[in-house]
């Protein structure tokens, strides 16, 4: 297609993307480079049902004037990125120089909020993504062999975990794994440990969240693989069967290579989605044990004092993280594209 035609074709989408994605991103970048003005404080006498006392409060007029002059606040450069709530360069340097051992260094690193969130988010991403692909493939292969009469209902049931809203699904599972819920009680019975609590231990909370993540995303992989399975060449399969290949060998040498591009596609989508894991953390009230990057952004934006600048810096660090994660896949796709054009 001519470049000009292509340009006119994508113009509406491009305009929408610029307005709704690019411009807010620029705004977030600008916000992350600023901090609030210095608050002008005065001592005033405040009275209430419990008596009067002298207290510090903000001089609203003076602060409002400062804000009118410079609405964005004070320019802070990259200061917010390096403070304790984000990359914490000073604290990391101290932890490195004062470390007793490598384990001690990581323990100190884990104490910092961003690194704790990164640890969970990366673990979640790199455990859930491959397991989703494997489970999705297994389900697709299984459903493919079901008798045609039962295929419809089986596909429906297999898709249900993805259709259930993440917040509702995780809340229901949260109640079930409670010490008095059906799964919690059953596990206590199975392991003969009346003190067993899935919510109390960080390790068990991580495992619960990861299992939930796999359960929720597997149908997506199943749907994509199932569609791909319909286009596997029957002649190649037939030839393999004639050559004496077992069922597993057929899958390994014919089906999987055919589905490889789809697997890469699913990996791409899953890497992006899992890196932004958020709803399970809320649904399972797991912020104590398993904060994720999206959760700490949300945490900055709620409450009495909304920390826009801090949230903006964490958002950009998350974007950088996603770019780093996807870099290998994008580079490979770019190379394939260039090769084809040539």
């Amino acid at each position: 297609m001519k470049h000009k035609t292509f340009f006119w074709f994508i113009l509406p989408s491009l305009a929408a993307m610029i307005v709704f994605i690019a411009m807010p991103l620029v705004s977030v970048v600008v916000q992350s480079l600023h901090v609030e003005h210095e608050q002008v404080m005065v001592v005033t006498e405040n009275c209430g049902p419990f008596g009067c006392e002298e207290q510090t409060s903000v001089d609203a007029e003076a602060t409002a004037k400062l804000r009118e002059e410079k609405p964005l606040g004070r320019f802070n450069g990259l200061g917010t990125y390096f403070d304790r709530g984000h990359l914490a360069t000073a604290e990391v340097a101290t932890a490195w120089s004062e470390r007793a051992s490598l384990g001690d260094f990581f323990k100190r690193l884990y104490n910092l909020p961003l690194y704790k969130a990164i640890a969970f988010t990366l673990t979640y991403t790199f455990v859930v993504t491959p397991l989703v692909i494997i489970l999705g493939l297994a389900i697709a292969l299984g459903v493919n062999r079901v008798t045609p009469a039962l295929k419809g209902p089986t596909i429906f049931v297999s898709l249900l975990p993805m259709i259930v809203t993440p917040l509702i699904g995780s809340l229901i599972l949260f109640w079930m794994i409670d010490a008095q819920g059906i799964i919690g009680k059953s596990l206590q019975f199975l392991f003969d440990d009346p003190e067993l609590s899935l919510k109390a231990s960080p390790t068990l909370t991580w495992i619960t969240l990861i299992i939930y993540g796999i359960w929720h995303s597997a149908p997506f992989a199943f749907v994509v693989f199932y569609a791909g399975l319909q286009s596997v060449s029957h002649e190649t399969l037939e030839a393999a069967r004639i050559d004496g290949a077992s069922r597993w060998q057929q899958v390994r040498y014919v089906v999987i290579p055919h589905l490889m591009p789809l697997a890469i596609f699913i990996a791409l989508i899953q890497l992006m989605d899992n890196f932004r894991v958020f709803e399970p953390v809320i649904g399972f009230s797991a912020e104590a044990n398993a904060p994720s990057l999206s959760y700490i952004i949300y945490n900055d934006l709620k409450g009495d004092v909304i920390r826009f600048n801090s949230a903006a810096a964490t958002s950009l660090l998350t974007v950088v993280g996603v770019i780093i994660l996807l870099a290998p896949v994008l580079v490979r796709t770019w190379r394939d594209f260039n090769r084809k054009v040539v």
Partner: protein, 409 residues
């Protein structure tokens, strides 16, 4: 034909001029934002009876009100005409100058309000309080009798009572507090630290000063209490602890006084639990001060609205605070009204106030310390770090946030 039209028109005009809404208002839009519990629902329901003939009254009562109030009231015109706040949630509204002084409205319509209901900041009335609240001790008198322990007045006595209950095999985890990571956990730390009498900040500055023996004492007591609490304590908010109490699974708890009405009513619990639930003052720590902070709830009026809306809102809400509402909902809260009759549901808050509990500090940067404590104390309670390290983490997190928000340089 002409006569008929004139008759019709004049008839309608007569009807219209004689029509006022029930509260003497002639117009205005009222939109109330607040928390969602019984007392506020009762007030807003009564306020809504002022609607009609040009006065519209809407409300949004949600537990997430603190998250949306600043943004909603910054808009011009403000999204809500009134925000129902407490001592800590009024601070961001004051900092950003989002609420208007009520002196003239109180002079015009507030003759029935008590002087101790008027919250004045720097001489100007900024809010009208209607109830007091505090966290305090709830205990099961039947279980304490069973193990032969006196009702505790200090947290050391609470620990002893919990140990006795566990040793007698009645309950493995007899104690609970609102220790959910976040605002709830921060509140428990603030309450416990207040009992030590130490200051949170260096006087006159925004520099935090909690990494001292008072802070360590407060944290160690919290940890000891959690040994007698269900291992899931980091997910317990007010609703979870109330459910535990009503289900008869705990014998000692530190809960909000405003939960008293719901616990002592005849819904959601059993006769045995309700009959033996006693509300008493918050226990002390190592002195005489109860480990609790006093809270008031009140309403404010937004700045970015028309004067007509402001007046309509004030009148409607003062109607909502009338004696009939207080009498009908006597047990929902500790009302700051002469029509209120103290009962068993308010005994705890009254006793805590009398024992000398201090009000929650209304400092502009207190919220930052509260958030930092709620986030950083989790690892200490899980046994993963020492008290000093936890306090250092809280101070570091607070200092970062305070610098970013401009309270520290």
């Amino acid at each position: 034909m002409f006569l008929k039209h004139t008759m019709l028109a004049s008839g309608l005009a007569l009807m219209a001029t004689g029509a006022y809404a029930g509260c003497g208002l002639s117009g205005g839009n009222v939109n109330i934002l607040g928390n969602e519990f019984g007392a506020i629902q009762a007030i807003v329901a009564k306020a809504k009876e002022c609607a009609g003939d040009g006065v519209t009254i809407e409300s949004n009562l949600t537990v997430d009100h603190r998250d949306i109030q600043v943004a909603a009231l910054t808009a011009n015109p403000a999204q809500y005409t009134s925000a129902i706040v407490a001592n800590s949630s009024i601070v961001p509204l004051l900092n950003d100058d989002l609420i208007r002084p009520l002196d003239d409205l109180v002079a015009k319509h507030g003759q029935d309000l008590q002087p101790n209901q008027l919250i004045t900041i720097d001489g100007k009335i900024m809010a009208v309080a209607f109830m007091a609240n505090a966290q305090h001790l709830f205990y099961r008198s039947d279980i304490l009798e069973q193990v032969g322990v006196e009702p505790p007045t200090t947290y050391d006595e609470v620990l002893a009572a919990a140990e006795a209950i566990r040793a007698a095999g009645i309950m493995e985890h007899p104690f609970a507090m609102n220790t959910k990571t976040g605002w709830n956990l921060g509140e428990e730390f603030v309450n416990m630290y207040t009992a030590t009498g130490a200051d949170f900040f260096k006087p006159g500055t925004a520099e935090v000063a909690i990494n001292n023996e008072s802070g360590v004492a407060a944290l160690n007591m919290l940890k000891s209490l959690m040994e007698y609490s269900n291992p899931d304590f980091l997910t317990y908010d007010s609703n979870a602890t109330q459910a535990l109490w009503e289900g008869g699974q705990i014998a000692l708890a530190t809960l909000w006084g405003s939960r008293g009405g719901g616990i002592l009513d005849d819904e959601g619990s059993s006769e045995e639990v309700v009959a033996s639930t006693v509300l008493t003052a918050a226990p002390a720590l190592n002195g005489d001060t109860p480990a609790s902070t006093l809270w008031w709830d009140g309403f404010t009026i937004a700045r970015n609205i028309s004067d007509e809306d402001a007046e309509a809102t004030f009148v409607a809400l003062v109607e909502g605070l009338g004696d009939d509402v207080v009498k009908a909902n006597n047990d929902e809260a500790v009302w700051l009204s002469p029509a209120y009759e103290p009962g068993p549901a308010s005994a705890g808050v009254a006793a805590t106030a009398q024992a000398g509990a201090k009000p929650y500090p209304m400092l502009p940067f207190m919220g930052l310390l509260h958030t930092a404590a709620g986030a950083e104390l989790t690892e200490f309670l899980q046994g993963a770090e020492s008290a000093e390290q936890a306090l250092a983490d809280v101070e570091a997190a607070y200092t970062t946030a305070a610098k970013e928000q401009g309270y520290l340089q």
